[in-house]
């Protein structure tokens, strides 16, 4: 059942061009660095070294990214910030993938009135601008525990996936082998799980991966205005906010987390482009493109 | 032939793909005279469509027409022309009709618009004149109520009508040569006959030469005067239509004919040619048909046959021309031996 999925994944990776491979490598490095931060970082993240002498030092040999206004090493903080930013985004999209797949499976398999109601509900959710909703909820419930933040980010990002899965489910329903299996007595749910899930695995993974970049930007923005991640946890977004608060003369405190965000998102976009090109576009209804990571990730219908 | 309209000499069109070099058209030479209808026959993958596209220089990367090829049209070498000059020939002196009428027409423009465009591009005609011309052409190809029909969109028409529109588009400038690439394949059988009749009628009226590309021998029998059979990117037989049907020489041609139901020839089963067309990236050695041929012998495996003249005006790329007694010893073709 899964050999087909593995096959497709392998073909997928083969079809990636030069830039996409670079992007993939960069992303893997970032994730690796984030994972190994406690080992790799030169200092401890909240360690305030020599408050007087090392305050606001520009990049130097001892401190590659300089120090911030409370004498913490920026490189270390950036590495630890990666842990937060990347894990929040990845986990959030995991939530989104699970919720979206389930929703789409149910709607697409059951069809009829259930499907209509579920789709209307989805339309309503889609109509509310994501940022607006998140700001409203996060600010009103401030301060929000990190797990809640992840959950909220995920629960506002599953719509693409569910549409994708639903379309597949509906297409599957009509396929001959499904009709044949049903006529032989197999239960609908079982058919769907056995045949649909492996089929839809790869596109879902692709969409989810692209969504991660999206969420990184989102979390950074929310943290930047103070309602995302908060003290004592530090993400790239909070670092960026702190850095810009005291910008004049200490540009490095904001620059490096800023670059980290931009490079990460850029890599996700490049990777996403290549993945989209390799995937069969006729797979998806109405020439629909998986939303790439960015501020303006317009969801193609 | 004296003063042929089109003279193709040694045409080679290769595609440089990741999987290797695909020699889609590999040294093809033929001529078409003024007012002649020539059929170009073969299965999919033998190079017929690529030949047609090459004539109009519509081959895009990763394909290209190899240097050394020559195509003379009305005395000019098409390959030596600038892109701009070539553009003036397309749709104007040489026109092409494609296989799928639904996708060949632009869905967002009216049918009249698309026909009129040809006149505007090549004649510099005004909008009104071009439109009138379009209506005229629609009537010519047998579409009733042409004024109304011209305002319609392709999706509002049936397949047969769309193909008529495509034909109308091709004939606006009264080209000297029309290349019809499988014009009837996508249509119902009854419509097929109508379209072929239309083509014949128009050809008589305007004296246009037609290069009719098809895999359907039945269509060939109906409408052409000369036939060119292609296989493996090459011409394997060339003859008049009478010669071809009465005395086919190349085993491939025989195969095509025996796969075709014919009135008057009693047979219990239609025969198919075993095996499939080989990929253009790796044509078989020697005679390209040898592994599917019921008469193949050692020589055909190693020696690539030239075009032999088996009778006046009848060419065949087959060693049987020199060793005809082999024809008496048919056996199972290589591909069918397992």
């Amino acid at each position: 059942m899964f050999t087909d999925a593995i096959d497709r994944t392998r073909r997928l990776l083969h079809g990636l061009g030069g830039p996409a491979r670079v992007a993939l490598v960069v992303l893997l490095c970032f994730y690796a660095l984030a994972l190994l931060a406690p080992v790799v970082a030169p200092y401890a993240p909240s360690q305030q070294l020599d408050i007087v002498a090392l305050k606001n030092q520009p990049p130097s040999f001892a401190h590659w990214f300089g120090t911030d206004r409370v004498s913490r090493d920026v490189l270390t903080r950036t590495l630890y910030g990666a842990r937060v930013s990347l894990s929040v985004a990845t986990l959030a999209m995991l939530v989104a993938a699970v919720v979206g797949t389930t929703y789409g499976l149910v709607a697409g398999t059951l069809g009829g009135a259930v499907d209509t109601v579920m789709m209307r509900f989805l339309d309503a959710l889609l109509a509310i601008p994501r940022v607006l909703l998140l700001i409203a909820i996060l600010a009103l419930w401030n301060p929000v525990p990190l797990s809640m933040l992840v959950l909220l980010l995920g629960l506002t990002g599953w719509f693409d996936v569910s549409r994708l899965v639903r379309a597949e489910a509906m297409a599957m329903r009509e396929r001959e082998f499904v009709v044949a299996a049903r006529s032989l007595g197999a239960r609908r749910g079982r058919i769907m799980l056995r045949h649909l899930l492996p089929n839809v695995l790869v596109p879902v993974i692709v969409t989810t991966t692209l969504g991660i970049g999206n969420v990184i930007v989102l979390e950074a923005g929310l943290s930047f205005i103070g309602i995302g991640v908060h003290e004592p946890t530090a993400s790239w977004g909070t670092m960026f906010q702190e850095g810009t608060a005291a910008f004049a003369g200490t540009w490095w405190a904001a620059l490096f987390p800023g670059i980290a965000i931009v490079v990460t998102v850029l890599c996700f976009n490049v990777l996403g482009d290549a993945l989209r090109a390799v995937l069969d576009p006729r797979h998806l209804p109405r020439s629909r493109i998986a939303a790439p990571a960015a501020t303006f990730a317009a969801v193609a219908e | 032939m004296n003063n042929p309209l089109l003279s193709v000499q040694g045409l080679r069109t290769y595609f440089y793909t990741g999987a290797g070099v695909a020699r889609a058209v590999d040294d093809v030479s033929f001529e078409i005279g003024a007012g002649e209808t020539v059929g170009l026959v073969g299965e999919s993958g033998c190079g017929k469509s690529v030949t047609a596209l090459s004539i109009l220089r519509l081959i895009a990367s990763p394909g290209r027409i190899e240097p050394g090829s020559r195509m003379l049209f009305e005395g000019r070498d098409l390959l030596a022309l600038s892109e701009e000059d070539m553009r003036h020939i397309r749709g104007n002196r040489i026109a092409m009709i494609f296989q799928e009428p639904m996708t060949a027409l632009n869905p967002v423009f009216t049918v009249g618009d698309q026909i009129a465009e040809v006149a505007r591009v090549h004649d510099g005609a005004s909008r009104r004149d071009a439109w009138n011309k379009a209506v005229e052409m629609l009537e010519l190809v047998g579409i009733p109520a042409p004024e109304e029909r011209a305002k319609e969109y392709p999706h509002q028409m049936s397949g047969g009508m769309r193909q008529r529109v495509v034909i109308a588009m091709a004939l606006v400038m009264k080209p000297a040569l029309v290349i019809a690439d499988e014009p009837t394949t996508a249509l119902d059988v009854t419509i097929q006959a109508q379209i072929i009749d239309l083509l014949k009628d128009l050809q008589q009226r305007f004296g246009t030469s037609i290069l009719l590309i098809t895999h359907d021998m039945g269509v060939v029998a109906e409408s052409v005067s000369r036939v060119i059979v292609m296989y493996g990117g090459e011409i394997v037989e060339q003859a008049t239509v009478d010669q071809l049907f009465a005395k086919p020489h190349h085993p491939y041609t025989e195969g095509l004919l025996s796969a075709m139901p014919r009135v008057g020839h009693e047979r219990e089963r239609l025969q198919t040619i075993p095996g499939t067309v080989p990929p253009p990236t790796s044509w078989p050695s020697g005679c390209r048909f040898h592994d599917r041929c019921p008469y193949a012998w050692e020589r055909t495996r190693v020696e690539h046959p030239p075009l032999y003249e088996v009778e006046a005006g009848h060419l065949s790329r087959c060693h049987l021309a020199q060793e005809p007694e082999r024809r008496l010893q048919p056996h199972t073709p290589l591909v069918a031996q397992s």
């Binding site: 109509a127 998102v265 020439s287 303006f296 969801v299 | 109009l56 397309r90 632009n106």
Partner: protein
């Protein structure tokens, strides 16, 4: 056609009703209420009195039904923080945001479509490839990041543009009409540029992709076989088809545009709906927050309906039949 529009409108109303419900419960289920702010000088009796006055002591379901009823009558409640009916507050601030968004939409489509076509037409040239890389880069920039960068560059390092607000706080009222207009324009440049750059990059990329998808089509080959020159083939034959998905895109870009507008207004202190939302949230002005969320949804829904209608009009396959 008319049936199509009617169906879409009905659909829109259903969606908006669901949105109102979802938003209402999400917001009212938050801890606290508008009157739980910290201020020792206001006793709890006074607070409870306010709560009763504005109906916050009633059961949630009852509040919901009352809210629905008032919305149906066109009344959206009273804003505690701005001391005016919510409708008035919206009427004041929403148009400013719409101005930004509307201009950004128009500009980014105008630029984006052109650039997308250019990148395809001259795809192998250095300029086109540079443009492609640039649009990818800009597309990947976070909105708040770009807004900040532009502000820093043009507001501080080369102080040629104002650093915030919609007009000069002090002098505007004393300016001549043309000076005032110029002042307004100057203040709009940075926020508008931020939004336009981000959305424009997205549109360039989608237009390019859409065009590349259309180019291998049979009818494009037919056009070339007719002798049409390459420019015309791309601009007329291919583009007319490639533009259709862009119409849908306009509708789908709205939620993101609103989100972007939120951050941009915050960074540039542009006194539109976005900034209002931030302040309203800060003081738990529930009616205002709720109305803003609904307003955002209305924008999105209306935008999508218009886009759908636009598409139906533009595509003959939908329009005729």
């Amino acid at each position: 056609m008319r049936r199509f529009v009617a169906v879409r409108l009905l659909h829109a109303i259903v969606v908006l009703f669901l949105v109102t419900t979802i938003a209402f419960f999400l917001i009212h289920l938050a801890p606290g209420d508008p009157f739980s702010f910290e201020n020792a000088s206001i006793s709890s009796e006074v607070r409870n009195q306010w709560r009763a006055q504005f109906g916050y002591d009633r059961p949630l379901l009852e509040q919901y039904v009352r809210y629905l009823a008032s919305v149906a009558q066109g009344k959206l409640g009273y804003s505690h923080s701005m001391h005016v009916p919510v409708v008035e507050a919206l009427a004041l601030r929403l148009p400013r945001t719409l101005l930004l968004m509307g201009l950004a939409l128009i500009l980014s489509f105008a630029i984006g479509i052109r650039l997308g076509v250019f990148e395809v037409r001259y795809w192998s040239t250095r300029k086109a490839r540079a443009s492609n890389a640039a649009s990818l880069l800009v597309y990947s920039l976070p909105d708040f990041w770009l807004a900040l960068m532009l502000l820093l560059i043009f507001g501080y390092w080369l102080p040629i543009l104002p650093t915030g607000g919609m007009q000069d706080l002090v002098l505007h009222d004393y300016m001549t009409p043309s000076q005032a207009a110029w002042d307004r324009i100057k203040h709009m440049v940075l926020p508008l540029t931020t939004l336009t750059l981000l959305l424009g990059a997205a549109i360039t990329r989608y237009q390019r992709a859409s065009l590349l998808e259309v180019l291998p089509s049979d009818f494009v080959r037919t056009a070339r076989a007719k002798g049409v020159d390459e420019s015309r083939v791309i601009r007329r034959h291919a583009l007319r088809n490639a533009l259709l998905p862009m119409i849908t895109l306009a509708g789908l870009a709205l939620p993101a545009l609103i989100g972007g507008a939120l951050f941009v207004e915050r960074v540039y202190s542009w006194p539109g709906m976005g900034l209002m939302v931030f302040t309203a949230i800060g003081v738990r002005d529930y009616p205002l927050v709720l109305a803003s969320v609904i307003a955002g949804a209305v924008l999105v829904v209306v935008g999508n309906v218009l886009a759908d209608i636009g598409y139906a009009l533009a595509d003959p396959r939908v329009r005729v039949h």
